[in-house]
Amino acid sequence: MIRNYLMIALRNLTRNKAFSFIHITGLGIGLACCMLIFLYAKDEWTFDRFQAKADQLYRITCSIVEKDGKESRIGASAMVQGPAFKAAIPAVQDFVRVQESDHLIRIGAETYSEHVAWADANFFSVFSFPLKSGNAASVLGDQHSVVLAEDEAIKYFGTADPIGKIIELEFNDTFQPFTVSGIARRSPQNSTIRFGFVLPFSYREAKEPESTWDWLSYPTYLVLAPGTDPAAVTRQMNNHYQQVNSKQIAEMKSLGQGSFTWGLQAFPAMHLDPDMYATSHVSDPAYSYILSGIAIFILIIACINFINLTIAQSIRRSKEIGIRKVVGGQRKQLVFQFLGESVLLCAFAFVLALVIAVLALPTFNQLANKQLSLTYLADPLVIAGYILLFLVTAFVAGFYPALVLSGFDPVKTLYNRVSAGAGRNLLSRSLVVVQFSLSTFLIIATLFVYAQFDFLTHKPLGYNDHNLLQVTAHKDGDKQLMKLLKQEFSKLPGVLSVAPRMNGIWVTRSKANEKDVEVLIEHIDESYLATMEVPLVAGRNFSPDFPADSTRAVLVNESYVAAAGWKDPVGKKLRLNQDKDQLEVVGVVKDYHFASLKEKIMPQIFSQGPSMPFGQFMIRISPDDKARTLAGIGKVYNSLVPFRPFEYDYKQDLNFRDYESEQRWKSIISFAAVITIFISCIGLFGLATTSIRRRIKEIGVRKVLGASEFQISRLVSGNFLVLVLIAFLISVPLAWYAASSWLQGFAYQVQGYWWIFPVACAATVAVALLTVGSQAFSASRANPVKSLRTE
């Protein structure tokens, strides 16, 4: 019996090549999308799970609640928490501090800038990072030891054995020797902690010891005894903190500073907690949900094709069904047969999907910012997931058609009285509406993402980011060097102006007009505004003509004026933090977007305070011969700052980098939209073909009675276009809601996007019309005599 079913199924597949193509391609693409997303989601949800002690490992977290109730969560501690909690709480078996930072390293005469990790000596015993050589327990025992990852070992030492070799590392302006004591295997890509160089934390601790509890710079991991309740440990941690820091806590309270509460976060939970500061390679779980949603969309559309076309084509199978019933076949046997056919078809689609998934993996990795590899496919969980996906798809796609087809009345089928609707019955029409609603939804979403992206990358920022270089100077505290660099850079041909500024950002509090204003401090000199091309709206710029400016004067931006509630800001006084000295506002700077457009412009204070460091230069260069100018700047830098690599970025590139994730989503959603439209259209094509075949006699009669080709085309296409328009109406509010929720994530959003809806509608209708219209047109041109005779 099964052989018979298989044979029929195979012969049906080969006989109806166009429909087999539609089914297999559609389901294949849908399944491939699901496979890739499944890999992605699995990687996300099992991140860090490879750690053998994953269930015992916790990160110390700190929740800081400010006076105004604002809470921030940080996944780092100071140096002391790890040792203190281990000593005070018996359930804490061990602790590991891991701090990542950028350093210069020197091997032989060459210097390189590298990202290194400082870790406690038990790093390799607590974490499951296997060593290729070296003993996990002792490899970081010496303060001057260093463990290399295998890639770095090859990069710097080639095939030679690096054990015992010396690497020098710059620490506070001097190079210190470290001896290679071990080689670690490459850290997995689904690991939060990744490293090229691991150095002993004890060295750092000895050089720069700290005893405060509030300098939160060192991610600290605790190993709890098996079966320990982390909530109980958290209570003990906070009790201990209160006991040993009572004086400091009282002081912080009196100064109106935020309160610290310590917590524990399970190690594998770190990756999907984007709201916690200080996590590397963190990811938003929303991405998994959105991607899974898109994949399921695509698979549903492909399944709808299968259901619709199978039912539309059922007239062709009706005779077979009738005969099978006449010779004794029971309904359940027929259900089994048709389900079997959908399983077979799905099996072909599944093989195609595997091929697509393998071929698309590199592109997918790029889109999803992952490094998933084919070896993942051999994972038992993945295999089980894929088998389940296969069976569910075969069942979802095959069950309803099987039920409909097996229910045919043999008498009707054998006397040609069956009238299954191709695009005519309610279900089939509803499914087309669902398909096109999903497609239109994605088209609208894509247009929204494009519009917002265009807005983000083209909105005037309030300063000129063209031909503007950002050069990191390092040596932040060396005032003389900064002065010299500025002088020398300014002399270069092609350099239009040079402005030093503080490296990084500093957010603090200020008091103005009796109000607490959270503020971003910019440490600049008088050339900054001119270099950035930011205008003043009131008052004056800093000037060497006013020597007191450096200690007494500040500039503020318009947002600060608004936050302080000043009407006439110039001459007004403000205080920074808890400083006693008052600073006078001498000028108001027009608001500009110093951060990405995802963030609102904050109140800003521009200061020349002599105690604050520089560390970065903004250099406006001429658009002509940029390469020569850059080379000149590099030469000056290297001559004045030996050993350090010359690092620069174009500000425009940096701004663009702020929207990398939006850029990725733009590509993902465009891909999704194209795929859904493609699958929907091949389905519509099949449905239209069947429908036209069914109406061939009607078309013939209409032509005989005088209908024009246009009238016939309109008649045939019209039915489908109505469905597409209904789909559009359904998708508009849903897409609008989704898009506006997404836009909420941006402080500045594209305005006047109503054009998106008519454009999406026109695009959908055009694609549908092209799909159906070509067939409608050829049907309208067919000789009616022939079509009538055919009947």
Binding site: I8, R11, K319, G322, R324, V326
Partner: protein, 225 residues
């Protein structure tokens, strides 16, 4: 073998009610060859479909081999049908995707006959209807007469007690038609009961008895001598 009493069947649409069988009573004995004749729409095919358990009657009784089958469910009907009844249709009704051999094999598959046994029986019956040389061809590669021979082969492969033939020569020329009628006659002579719906007086003459129908009722019975 067949006894139907006061059988009624009404087809209803939203506006029209058509009486297909109007309190029809009829008896067919084991080994009989009965022809049913009448104008289009008189209920011949409906009668045949009810006899073949493909369709239900609204009221009345239908006793098959001593068993009342009017209230049989789908499964019981399918079971009774596959063991006892063979069908021959005017339009042959072969499955296009199956070869001659596979079409004839189909009833045996549903009755659970083993593969080796099936092969033997199908070959036997294909030989009998002289279509063995075409066993691996598809229906569309055969002439009408050959297709009907395959259909007859399929109808008899399970050794049914009853063959229901619905205008079996309607789509054939006279020479092919005669061949098919000859086959049915031979089957009848071997003990198979045959009920045949036909428009052809010529074909009806092969039967033992002609039942003439009009408006869902039997109006006349001719016993052939």
């Amino acid at each position: 073998m067949i006894k139907i009493t006061n059988l009624e069947k009404v087809y209803r649409t939203e506006e029209v009610e058509t009486i297909a069988l109007n309190k029809l009573s009829l008896e067919v004995k084991q080994g009989e060859f009965v022809a049913v004749m009448g104008p289009s729409g008189c209920g011949k095919s409906t009668l045949l479909n009810i006899l073949g358990l493909l369709d239900d009657a609204d009221t009345g009784s239908f006793v098959f081999n001593g068993i009342e089958v009017v209230n049989f469910n789908e499964r019981k009907r399918a079971d009774l049908r596959k063991h006892n009844i063979g069908f021959v249709f005017q339009s042959f009704n072969l499955i296009d995707e199956l070869t001659v051999f596979e079409n004839v094999e189909l009833p045996l598959i549903y009755t659970g006959v083993k593969a080796s046994e099936r092969k033997k029986k199908v070959d036997e019956v294909l030989n009998k209807v002289q279509i063995m040389h075409r066993r691996n061809h598809y229906p569309q590669q055969l002439s009408g007469g050959q297709q009907q021979r395959v259909a007859v082969a399929r109808a008899v492969v399970n050794d049914p007690k009853l063959i229901l033939a619905d205008e079996p020569t309607g789509n054939l020329d006279s020479s092919n038609g005669n061949e098919v009628m000859q086959m049915l006659t031979e089957l009848n002579e071997q003990g198979t009961t045959i009920v045949m719906v036909t428009h052809s007086e010529h074909d009806a003459r092969y039967s033992h008895r002609i039942i003439r129908m009009l408006d869902g009722q039997t109006v006349l019975q001719n016993i052939m001598v």
